[in-house]
Structures are given as C-alpha cells and as structure tokens.
Symmetry: C2
Subunit: 333 residues, 2 copies
C-alpha cells in the first residue's frame, strides 16, 4: 500500500482520495490544504475510509516526511501557483503526481520554472509528473501511443465531444449553459470559461512527434441550443447557450498539423472521443460515448503512481514514464 | 542515426530495414542470416539504401560489435529457436528488439528460458524486447494503456477483423483461402495455419491488469465464403474457405475475463480493430478499417528502438519500456 501525502482538498482531490482507499492501492498519511476553513478538521469527514486520526494540515511545514512515499497535488491549473508546493516536495526527494494542467507540458508557458524543477528533482532524487484525462491522456499521451504504429505522421487531430447533461451543476455553469451571448462573452473575457490544457496537449504532440509548430491559436465559441433544453441550471430556451466549443490549431508552413477540439454542451448527441493520426497508415481511433472525465482523471492519477515511483529522478511527462495501466491492489507486477 | 545489426532477412526483416533507411532513423551496419543461399550476398540487393559494402554474414561470430548500437531479430515466432541468437546478443551487452511472437510475453511457454535471458541481460547490460502489431500492440500494450483511465476492470475483449483481399498471396494462403474443410483441417493439424501470439497477449493482459486466469483455451475455425469471391489464390466458390477465425478465452471462476478474437478472410466487410475494457468506466475503443499489419509491425519495431536503448538492462515487455511513439529522424526528444 502506497503511503500518500495529499495536497489540495477540492472536489477532485477528495474524489482521488476516496478512490485510492476504495481501490486499496494506497492510503493517505497526511493531507494539506491552505484554506483556513479546512485546517484542523478531520480528513475522514471527506474521506470516510481515511484514518480517523488524520487532521488536515494548513501547510507542508508540519508534515512528517518519514512516512510519505508519494505526494498527489490537486491545487491549481496554473503551474506558477503550484511552484512552491512542488519545490518543497521535490526538495524532500519525493515522487509527485499532479493534475496541474500546465504541468502536462510545462515548457509551453514556464520554460525557466520547468528547468528549475527538473534540476531540483534530479539533485534531490524527486520525480514530478503532470497528468489527467485531458490534458494528460486523450489529446497527448494517447495520440503519441497510437503513433507507435506509424511509419510517417503528417498531422494529428483529436476531438472530445461531451454531453454535459449528466455532469454536476458547477460543470454546467462553467461551460456557460443557459447564458445569452453577452453573458458568455463576459465569462470568456474574465477567463472563467476556459478549458485549460489544449495548448499544452498541442505542444506535447508537436514535440514528441516532431511536428514543428510555427504558430498556434486557440479559439473559444458558444454552442447554441438548437431546441429547448432542460439542465441542472434550469431550462435553456432554443438559441441560448448550451455549452462551449474550444479549438486549438498548430500550423507549420500554413498547414494545420495539429488540430484539437473540445466541445461540452447540454443535450449533445452522440458524445465521443477521437484521435486521428494522419500518415502512413492513417489510424482513426474512436471511443463511442467518450471517456467519463471525473472517473478517468482520478483513475489515471492513481494508476500512474507506481510508474512515477519507479521512474528516474527528474521532471517527467506521460511520454517519459513507463506506460500506466490499471493498478489492482495486491497484484505483483 | 542508430547503428543496427539485423538478424533474419525474411520479408519482414527486409521491410524493416528498408523502412529504417527510408525514415533515416538508423542504418544497418551488419546483417546476418543463416540461409546458405544468402551468405556472402550484398545486402543492397534487398535493401537498396544500405551501404553497398555490406555483405550478408552467415553467423554472429564474424560481427564487429564495436559499431553496433542495437540489434533487430526477425527470425522465428518460436522463442526456443531464437534463444541462441538472443544469448549471443545479450552477452555482448546489446539492446535487442525482436518480432518473435512468443517473446511478447515469454513467461507463458518458456519460464526457465525467460529467467535465463533476464539474468543474462542484467549481468551483461543488455536489453531485450518482443514487439509487433499483434502480438505486441493491439491486443496487449493497447488494452493495458487504455486501462490507465480505469477505476476498475472486470474484463478485457479485443477484436481484430481483417479483409485479406488486399494482402500478399502468402498471407492469403496462410489463412487457408480457397481450401475445402478437409484441407483446412489438415493445415490446422500441421500447425501451419495458426496465428501465433493470442496466448501471449492474453497472459500479458492477465498479468498486468491483475485478471487471474484459472484456465484458458484457444480455438481455430474456418470462415466460409458466403458468396463467390475472387482472390490472389484464385476464385473461391461460395461455401469454400475464405479465411480463419481464431479465439482465445481466459477464465476465472467460470467467468470469461479475457476474450481475444482474430479473424482474417477474403472479402471481409468492414474490417476493424477494437479494444473493450469492461469496468468503471466502460471504455470501448474502435479503429474503423483496422491497423495495417505489415506497415504497423515494421513501424513499431523502429519506433521502440530508442525506448529500448534507454531502458534499464533486462528482459522487457511493452509494459515496462517507456511508451513508444512515432520517431522522426533528426528530432530531439
């Protein structure tokens, strides 16, 4: 059983810890969250199978490092905001898995920080990986893995089309469901409607598959309801916003070589995930129904833990650790 | 550019070497085949881009090891028949990639030999991997990689359904096209009609995904033409053999936990590959049209070369090397 320090007790963090205990892959030995309301509370209020003795700590300063094998960090999408946490954990020589979206390919927006973390990890014997279902798997690790059967690759396209009807209300709010166009535009300007990670996935593909990108762009636009819809945020009349469509495109020599498309809307018909590797051979991979985002992100974090623990010290990506697969408790590998 | 020693100049070996040079990922520095007709011949007759100075050697004894980075072995499906070659290469501390089907999961049929090769590799600094598109990818590495989004896995099913119409004549002959039932049964008894590797893929999945197998079975049966067909081996009247269907099933507690199905027939409609991971979530991955076997096997051998070279010394599988992806010449990773 892996002994886990968890940092960041938002909904995703709590889900991961509950799954970790339910699956008996590991157990939490310490939990940290800097929200004043959480400090000192008993973790088992949120994670019923956690030891009743564990109180949520306010900071990493009070952690007993001798009992920690691995750390999981679910605090922010923004690598700069996670940096101090990663520095602290790496300086203790720990292996760290995080859902920080920008960490999936940190060289896009944080070259200097990525180099600093890489050096610190190597020096102190730590390991650091960013993962998740998207970014982290469907639009980066999976297309790279699919391309292993390729003799040539001219381009890559990935599509993630989701029906948001069955998702939790905060998710429906986040994609703008029920807004009018002005309200949607305002949320886009605020930056609260953006799915983080398409740029990271795009540059992950470009880097590992040798598809040079001269310029890239990312657009976000509303998906309008084409009929009256019901949703968790109330009725959505035809013409109002049902959800969001976000597209990232990478160009070389005016040719689009990487195309990533993310769409989540209430009432979306026939959701799916799809990876298309254009080349010899052309490989078209379709997942009808798509991959459930919440379960998958928690699962991939847990399933990568053993692979990160056994990896060389350093800053890793999903292309440099051994391929993760479902980890069953008590199974020798 | 990787400097390659190639052992085994059958059609697959020659294809790999031509692809290797065309892709400029590596170049061959020595080639060995024990067929008397080949020894002493110039390799560039078969591999036009190979150096005109290279003659095919009859044995590994005469190889200049100082110029070899990696070896590729395409000699036999049978691990026992490849064992002396692997011993020789590993004793020189070389990294070796082979299409030997039984090497994809050698512990199924050759436990003692697998242990011997593992120990030799570790002692001498060599690395050994068995791969290919099937076995090696579609029914083992790919379902394992798909399961990385899984919270639980109850079972795995893989399907490979191919239209043999466009394949080379030896392949059409190998699947029994044009035979009557008695002729098909005779070839099955001879063992010449068998696709090698379903058992290896099945036990690969069972091992890494923790699906204990109490017993397993493998069946082979003819696919009959349901209409008059044309093929490379001549006309196939309705009712004659169009191809072969081979199914491997692994059971635990009388429940089928792994199901692998391979079908190749002339005139097969809607060929596809499919991986179904039953669990939470259920993940159904479909590749309409399927993956072209000849291109893919050559590609995956070439694309795994850098990952095997950087792996720890030892006997590897597709689950223990870093995940392969398309390797583009001149790309820094």
């Amino acid at each position: 059983m892996l002994r886990i320090l968890h940092v960041g007790l938002g909904p995703l963090g709590i889900r991961i810890l509950n799954d970790l205990h339910e699956r008996e892959v590991g157990h939490v030995v310490a939990a940290v969250d800097n929200a004043p309301a959480l400090a000192g509370q008993y973790l088992h209020q949120y994670v019923p199978k956690a030891s009743p003795a564990i109180r949520i700590q306010h900071s990493l300063e009070t952690v007993d490092w001798s009992v920690v094998d691995l750390a999981i960090v679910t605090t922010s999408s923004d690598l700069a905001k996670c940096a101090d946490t990663f520095r602290h954990l790496l300086s203790k020589g720990k292996a760290v898995v995080s859902t920080c979206e920008e960490l999936v390919y940190p060289w896009l927006r944080h070259v200097a920080l990525a180099e600093e973390l890489e050096e610190l990890a190597k020096r102190s014997g730590g390991r650091l990986l960013g993962t998740g279902v998207n970014p982290g798997y469907l639009m980066d690790a999976l297309p790279a893995f699919v391309s292993s059967v390729s003799k040539s690759v001219r381009g890559v396209a990935c599509y993630r089309v989701q029906d948001a009807s069955a998702r939790r209300i905060p998710f429906q709010q986040k994609i703008g469901a029920g807004l009018d166009d002005a309200g949607f535009a305002a949320k886009v300007r605020e930056g609260t409607l953006r799915h983080v990670g398409l740029g990271e996935s795009l540059h992950f593909i470009a880097h590992y598959l040798g598809l040079p990108i001269e310029r890239w762009e990312e657009d976000i636009e509303p998906v309008h309801a084409t009929r009256d819809l019901q949703s968790g945020v109330g009725a959505i009349p035809r013409g109002r916003i049902a959800g969001v469509r976000q597209v990232a495109k990478g160009y070389f020599d005016e040719r689009e070589v990487v195309h990533l498309e993310f769409q989540a809307a209430i009432g979306q018909h026939d959701p799916y995930d799809r990876v298309l590797v254009e080349g010899e051979p052309r490989v078209d991979v379709v997942i009808p129904g798509g991959v459930h985002g919440d379960i998958a992100t928690s699962s991939i974090v847990i399933n990568t833990l053993p692979r990160v623990l056994e990896a060389k010290p350093g800053l890793h990506t999903m292309a440099t650790i051994a391929p993760p697969f479902f980890v069953r408790a008590g199974t020798k590998r």
